[in-house]
């Protein structure tokens, strides 16, 4: 029988701690507990058996750290320790014949890798999946009945483990997370976020382990219960750890633990066990306290129809107030974004995202579709880059199925996927991906016959989408229907068709989304039409809109609707936002300073205003650069060199110059001209192994301010990538930085490779560098600071 035959129908019991008991049996600090599966199998088996006698019917194999990273220097393979672990667990079950065989289950235990995944650390997501996959394959070979992904404090790592489990086995997957008292993981994800993601990825049960005692788990459990129908697991610690006489002890005794576990059961826990500090007494008393009880009604009844998407922070719920999806990361009609996508300028894309979030977007739509571009690669890079700077959910927007799969795979959280439609082919391609990666999907009301011109026609397609989704195991809660806004200028019935569809779907409890601004194509004053239609749609029950949160009128419509509908209780947000409207309507800073002064004084907004003023006066952009920006930067650079100005002034001046350049770029773009001739190209990178990039970023901004075209490869860059970029861009100068002594070797290696393959000059910098070091490792130049880097570039390119 499978554990699924009992799960949620009767209470199941995990065992308790293994690690602390192995320590008591002689495991030394720093020694790998998993190795004891082989070297001290009898000890491991006897600990397991003690838990079985106490009533545990699911044993966690002693494989918490059995991955290739941790085992590499142990002298044992992953398979060795996993196979031995299961022999020990089976032996323990065999030693307790009085427990029915069909109720004995061995779980393959997968703990964290001990690494942070990129971009937060240096373990690539794909490598994390591979590490777990190896252990899963060994577990399956060893006869695991289920997989327990446990002690997860990072949603991204949990996703890697769950994917590995699902892709390499067909046995049930349980997932438990370790939260702090406030219900957050170490990466900031909420209880609800973690649970929604795990459920989406196909976990059979979710819950809590380690970190907290049962009292605190009981408090957090309702938050999980509120968003999932899955059975809930609770393997808490024996209270919180405290240090006494140099030793870690746990504060909750077995009796108290069992009392709290009864509370955990009442809150919906149906798989109960223990973690650090627990022993067989804890499990025995827990089993005794809950003997004969059925899983609490709250754990098994009622469909929690929660439509939500997540990044790795708080979830965004549909149906609890209008959801705003920022539409601006979509290259259609946006020349600057097109250029950024072609150049791989992810900073620009991230800025677009952050601006929209600052203006009130809840979710960011990400579309990287551009002819001639490798959409799969660019979309994945955009998703990764955005997720490196914000935990907000993303809407993955592509019609390229390969790009869709890769982006869904790399995504950290439960994404919104844009989109599927009523065409057979679309549904056959999209639904399996949405199911595998746990996405909520936007369903467009169109099919092979196009977009119906009646509400009934569109609703019929919506029904088809929902029905077909169900065949793939996708709940209606994970479908958000887009009625499709068509412009009112070609048919005045179009808005009312949308309103009718929205109302009908709301009646059925199905959530909706719409690209509102399509309604005004071909009309003047589009903002007025869009914002009014937006308000009408919200009043009809529209759940979410793909819109521009930087449109003042759209945001006014949204905030006013929230105030009027009660979504903004007491109009608090509205008042907070608009109480000072009159003061705010100054239209940005007036130019009180010349551009030169604004840059020297480091006043970014003044720099923007002064640049606008110069452009309005028809000043040639090149004159603006040569007569204002460069002289101002030179003044600041000189002052920095002479120590009359300090680092903050240098950085603020760089920012002010950048705002001036931004305005110039906008002017060039608005004029429909090709981008102004680029300056000389410099490749810039933080060397392999180094993840500190503040110095590199300062140098980049200064070089750009002086007109150089900087190809920024980012941090932790392999030598071969630097060489490739130099060759591709025919760069004459390369800037390399390293902060730590441990990465100087990587810098030296990069320099050697550059010398072999290219003729580029090499400038090095970073906290650990000195002139002597630079010479010793073969660099052409050393820049102690960013101003020196500018001077060096000027010498290389301009002979100055």
């Amino acid at each position: 029988m499978s554990v699924l035959d009992f799960l949620g129908k009767e209470l199941l019991y995990f065992d308790g701690a293994m690690g602390t008991r192995l320590q008591a049996a002689g495991l030394r600090p720093g020694e790998l507990p998993e190795v004891w599966n082989v070297t001290h199998g009898d000890v491991v088996a006897s600990i397991h058996a003690s838990y079985v006698r106490a009533g545990a019917n699911i044993l966690k194999s002693n494989t918490f750290g059995a991955n290739a990273l941790k085992m590499q220097e142990s002298g044992y393979s992953v398979e060795d320790v996993v196979l031995a672990a299961f022999q020990n667990a089976r032996a323990a079950f065999d030693a307790v014949p009085e427990m029915p065989a069909e109720r004995k289950f061995c779980a393959l235990d997968l703990g964290p890798t001990g690494k942070l995944l990129a971009p937060f650390g240096d373990l690539p997501f794909a490598e994390a999946v591979s590490l777990y996959a190896e252990t899963v394959r060994a577990g399956v070979k060893a006869g695991a009945d289920l997989i327990l992904v446990e002690t997860m404090s990072d949603t991204y790592e949990a996703k890697a483990a769950i994917l590995a489990a699902k892709e390499n086995s067909s046995i049930p997957v349980f997932v438990t997370f370790t939260f702090d008292k406030g219900g957050k993981l170490l990466n900031g994800a909420d209880v609800e976020t973690a649970v929604l993601m795990a459920e989406g990825l196909g976990a059979d049960a979710v819950g809590f382990n380690c970190g907290l005692g049962p009292d605190l788990v009981a408090q957090l459990l309702p938050r999980a219960r509120a968003v999932t129908n899955l059975p809930l697991i609770a393997n808490p610690n024996a209270g919180l750890p405290v240090e006494k006489d140099g030793k870690t002890i746990f504060t909750t005794g077995p009796e108290e633990f069992a009392d709290y576990m009864l509370e955990v059961y009442r809150e919906g826990g149906s798989v109960l066990g223990g973690c650090c500090g627990t022993d067989p007494d804890y499990i025995r008393l827990t089993a005794e306290r809950t003997k004969g009880l059925q899983p609490a009604a709250s754990a098994i009844s009622g469909d929690r129809f929660v439509t939500a998407v997540t990044g790795y922070g708080a979830p965004v719920y549909f149906g609890r107030g209008p959801v705003l999806i920022g539409e601006r990361i979509n290259p259609t009609g946006k020349p600057l974004l097109k250029e950024a996508l072609r150049n791989g300028d992810m900073d620009y894309i991230c800025r677009l995202g952050l601006e929209q979030l600052d203006h009130g977007a809840h979710i960011l739509d990400v579309n990287a579709g551009l002819p001639g571009l490798d959409e799969k690669a660019v979309l994945c890079r955009a998703v990764n880059s955005l997720q490196a700077v914000t935990p907000a959910p993303l809407e993955i927007d592509t019609s390229d199925y390969e790009a869709m799969e890769q982006a869904l795979r790399l995504y950290n959280g439960k994404p919104l996927l844009n989109s599927v439609n009523g065409k057979e082919e679309s549904m056959a391609k999209v639904f399996p991906l949405a199911k595998k990666y746990g996405a909520a999907v936007v369903g467009l009301c169109l099919d092979e016959n196009g977009i119906p011109d009646t509400a009934e026609g569109r609703l019929a397609i919506a029904e088809t989408i929902l029905r077909t989704a169900a065949r793939y195991g996708i709940s209606p809660k994970d479908i958000v229907i887009d009625p499709l806004a068509l412009t009112v200028s070609t048919d005045s019935r179009n808005p009312s068709i949308d309103i009718e569809v929205i109302e009908a779907l709301k009646e059925k409890g199905i959530h909706t989304v719409m690209g509102v601004s399509n309604i005004s194509f071909g009309l003047p004053n589009r903002d007025a039409v869009n914002s009014t239609f937006f308000a009408m749609s919200l009043a009809a029950g529209l759940s979410s809109a793909i819109m521009n949160p930087q449109s003042q009128r759209m945001m006014e419509a949204y905030r006013a609707y929230c105030a009027l509908s009660g979504a903004d209780e007491g109009c608090k947000d509205f008042v907070a936002r608009y109480a000072d409207t009159l003061k705010a309507k100054t239209g940005g800073a007036a130019a009180e300073y010349t551009l030169y002064d604004a840059i020297v004084k480091g006043m970014a907004e003044q720099g923007r205003a002064a640049t606008k003023k110069l452009l309005e006066a028809k000043t040639d952009p090149l004159d603006i650069i040569n007569q204002y920006i460069i002289p101002a930067l030179n003044t600041v650079g000189d002052g920095f060199g002479k120590k009359t100005l300090f680092l903050p002034q240098l950085l603020m001046a760089a920012d002010a110059a950048r705002t001036a350049f931004d305005e110039l770029k906008k002017q060039v773009s608005a004029g429909g001209q090709e981008n102004a001739a680029r300056g000389d190209t410099i490749v810039l990178a933080v060397v392999k192994g180094d993840i500190h990039d503040i110095g590199k970023n300062i140098v980049k901004v200064l070089w750009e301010n002086y007109g150089y075209h900087v190809v920024d490869l980012g941090k932790d860059v392999p030598a071969a990538s630097v060489v490739e970029a130099v060759e591709t861009h025919r760069a004459k100068l390369v800037g390399l930085t390293a902060l730590m002594t441990t990465t100087v070797a990587a810098m030296e290696e990069t320099i050697h490779l550059l010398r072999e393959e290219t003729e580029a000059k090499i400038l090095v910098g970073g906290a650990v560098m000195t002139q002597e070091y630079a010479e010793a490792i073969g660099a052409d130049g050393y820049a102690p600071d960013a101003v020196a880097a500018v001077e060096y570039a000027n010498r290389v390119f301009k002979g100055k």
Partner: protein
């Protein structure tokens, strides 16, 4: 321990930002950075106490813990001296701070600089707070010395690997080590803290200085003669580190704070 609130020592942030006295723009920048960081803090620390002794083999000094672990380095051995116990210590502000710093870097290079400086001041203050808490648990007559981190003096940065295996801090506080021995999250500190068994004056803000001035060598580079010591990643010391730095005319040398001569830096 997880304590979301950390005292914001603005003067320290300004010092790490390398701002001159009275720079109002810089002050506004670190204030703004603090506002953006304060809700992202998820500070945690872990500390394990070990018995220890200094040994010498083949002319190399080691500090050996009572669990058999060995750390190598003359400066470390001098630091531990005749102490018979020490804490192995790790602390982090959490990965959300890294994300916020990346966000700032995307937006503005000045904001990024202010953010780095502010986060550095926060992790240092947090470490000091943790040490005070550890100090309180010590019996009468024992006190903690200042923190001594890998990469400091001739203690190889690579020994972070040993320190991390002793602390198990990926599991306990979410602090991990990259292949090249960098800490992730970045705003983190690891150290050993010797427990002194004798009663002697505390090393605080110029009151008394029990430790001799230390011209720290890192791979042959004399930090005291370099451009300052503002990088947490490179040098991690407790608040009075300027007192042990030989560069007495350093423009960023920390003066005895007139308005912050509280007990914050005293581990009592």
């Amino acid at each position: 321990m997880s304590e979301e609130q950390i005292y914001f020592n603005k003067q320290e942030a300004l010092r790490y930002f390398r701002a001159r006295q009275g720079d109002e723009q810089a002050e506004a920048a670190v204030d703004a950075a603090y506002q953006k960081l304060k809700n992202e803090l998820q500070p945690r620390f872990t500390a394990k106490r070990f018995g220890c002794r200094v040994i010498e083999e083949n002319g190399i000094s080691y500090v050996q813990l009572d669990n058999g672990t060995r750390f190598q380095g003359n400066a470390l051995a001098r630091y531990v001296g005749d102490a018979r116990a020490l804490y192995v210590f790790g602390a982090t502000l959490g990965s959300r701070v890294d994300t916020a710093l990346r966000r700032m870097a995307i937006t503005s290079v000045a904001e990024a600089g202010a953010g780095q400086a502010t986060a550095t001041a926060l992790i240092e203050t947090y470490c000091d707070d943790c040490c005070r808490m550890l100090q309180k648990k010590l019996p009468e007559g024992q006190r903690l010395k200042w923190r001594f981190s890998p990469g400091y003096g001739d203690w190889p940065l690579e020994e972070q690997r040993i320190l991390f295996s002793v602390l198990d801090c990926a599991h306990t506080i979410g602090l991990t080590l990259t292949k090249s021995c960098m800490m992730a999250p970045v705003k983190s500190v690891t150290a050993v803290i010797a427990i002194l068994n004798r009663k002697e004056p505390a090393a605080v803000n110029g009151v008394r200085n029990p430790d001799p001035p230390l011209n720290i060598k890192e791979d042959g580079k004399n930090l005291a003669d370099s451009e300052g010591c503002g990088e947490t990643e490179r040098v991690s010391l407790s608040e009075n580190k300027c007192l042990r730095c030989g560069k007495i005319n350093c423009e960023f040398r920390r003066t005895v704070p007139a308005n912050d001569a509280t007990d914050r830096s005293e581990f009592t």
